[in-house]
């Protein structure tokens, strides 16, 4: 177990930032920590990193109690408020953090270059951080988090300042880090980001975990929506073999419980029966659907 928390709570004055955080993060997974603004996500991250002390509850990170100094050397962290010394060059920020991490981290120029290349800052390595856009600073922060290929990487809203290309890059970096053996704790309120990259998700609100589990379990059975015309009764019967078919008045039909791998076969069956396919949306109950179901519709808070 990489992270294990039990009844973790944090109170600031009279306000409860975190009420009862109980969760487990397994090794080698991308764990999405999802919730609306003010749900207690960043507080949870700060507790895990020892930046803040819990009011009650207990937790271990990489097998050690919260705040253990040696363990912090094995955690990469991109803060929500990613700011680095503006008077340092990007390369110098990475060099500084390799020194702070201490022994065992490759401090060679080649290792730093590799990280800069990974986060797309190779051509800005010797530029002052103060001249960086927010997106570039976030990329630098991601590089800082990746230093030394730590077993646990905690990313707090890692794409908040990035454009779509940058977000795709971050997703690729996260997958590569996971494939290299790191566990990723991804704190985000961006549903699509979490849905695209996470293996497991915990949905939190007002300091409590409302639901957690594998995405497939959380979202239920897969479905596909198809807009098709000229469908014959025989075609509808054939489609029934793929899952439960529901036809709407708007020309859309939904096949629920379909195996994602057979979606092309369903389309082929429609075309073979003389039907015309105009659009196909593979999907399922989206994370947004599930999220709103748990958190409540906008404005209900």
């Amino acid at each position: 177990m990489i992270i294990e928390t039990e009844g973790l709570a944090k109170r600031y004055g009279r306000a409860d930032a975190l009420v009862d955080l109980t969760m487990q993060v397994d090794a080698g997974e991308v764990f999405g920590f999802l919730g609306p603004n003010g749900a207690g996500k960043t507080t949870a991250v700060k507790l895990l990193l020892g930046l803040t002390r819990p009011t009650r509850g207990r937790a271990t990170v990489l097998g050690a109690p919260l705040g253990d100094r040696a363990t912090r050397g094995r955690i990469g962290y991109l803060p929500e408020l990613f700011r680095y010394q503006p008077w340092l060059h990007a390369r110098e920020v990475l060099e500084l953090h390799t020194r702070l991490i201490g022994g065992g981290v490759d401090r060679s120029r080649r290792a730093i270059d590799r990280i800069l290349e990974e986060v797309g800052l190779a051509d800005r390595a010797d530029d002052l951080v103060g001249g960086f856009s927010k997106g570039m600073q976030q990329r630098l922060g991601l590089g800082v988090a990746l230093l030394g290929a730590p077993p646990l990487i905690v990313l707090d809203e890692p794409t908040s300042a990035l454009d779509p290309v940058g977000r795709a890059d971050v997703r690729a970096i996260i997958r590569r880090a996971r494939d290299a053996g790191s566990t990723i704790f991804l704190n985000s309120h961006l549903l699509t980001e979490v849905e695209r990259v996470c293996d497991r998700v915990a949905i939190v609100d007002r300091g409590r975990v409302l639901a957690d589990g594998r995405l497939d379990d959380l979202l239920g059975a897969r479905a596909v929506r198809i807009r098709a015309t000229d469908l014959t009764p025989a075609a509808m019967t054939t489609l029934g073999r793929f899952g439960r078919v529901a036809a709407g008045d708007d020309g859309w039909l939904t096949i629920s419980g379909i195996d994602a791998a057979t979606i092309p076969d369903a389309v082929t069956a429609i075309v073979a029966s003389g039907g015309r396919v105009h659009a196909v949306y593979p999907g399922r109950a989206t994370l947004e659907d599930r999220y709103l179901e748990l958190i409540g519709p906008p404005g209900s808070a």
Binding site: Y12, K46, L49, G50, L51, T52, R53, R69, A70, T71, R72, G73, I75, Y77, P79, L81, F82, R83, Y84, Q85, W87, L88, L96, H97, R99, L100, I101, G102, G141, V144
Partner: protein
Amino acid sequence: MSNILVIARLTVAEAVRRRIVWVLAGLTMISVALTTWGVERLVSLARAGGTSDLEIYVGVSQVLILVAFMFSFVLAMTAAFLGAPAIAADLESGVAHAMLARPIRRADLVVGRWLGLVVVVVLYAAGSGLLEVTAVSFVSGYAPPQPILAIAFLSAQAVVLLTLSIVLSTRLPAIAAGAICVVAFGLGWMAGVFAGIGRFFDAGPLVSVAEGSRWLLPTDGLWRGAIFGLEPPAVVLVAVGRGGPAAQANPFFVATMPPGAFIAWSAVWVAIVLAIAVVSLTRRDL
């Protein structure tokens, strides 16, 4: 390299990169040039008027003490405004969060910041002080009796204020920490003046309160040590002989070196306040 040294080196590099050191160096050059020019004019006029060398030396020694007071003020303000944002600004901007999530103690950050700024402040004090003394000596022929001692006391005074600003910086915004230091420095100096006047009028309670404040914030007591290093022994003899307690009330005159116990207390004071800064940051939720 220990984390304290990593942070200290980073702090010195920041002072250099952010042009703080160069601004201070430039202002020092301007200050030294103007004050030296002023001294040279005064000495030339005095010599042309037939004033004896002894009288000129006494006059220059008092001008040099006034210049030292200006440097003392500049140094104190520099220390306060370097120390005030040292922790607070990093916490406000988030720079500290990324660093403190690493395997370093919060004490490393506080002591490293303090050490780096002490290096900057002491080097600035030594450089500007020696340059001023050398320049004045060149144009007037007068050299104070113990310039190194005076610079050491000026540096110690700046380190005290720097330490105060850092402890405040662990809990307060930078501007608030800096403002408190400036006010504390001013009050400390005024307490020294009140103590001198109180002794002249034999006002026991006033002297007790004013002396107590010197132990609470040792800046004024250390400033007195700087004056002692610049005061010619002949002036001390004459002033004490003729002025007695009245001379002691002058905030730009001292007859004796600060007691050893006070100097030791100043060092202990710095250590205690720095330890409080460490505890304060360690207990703070980030």
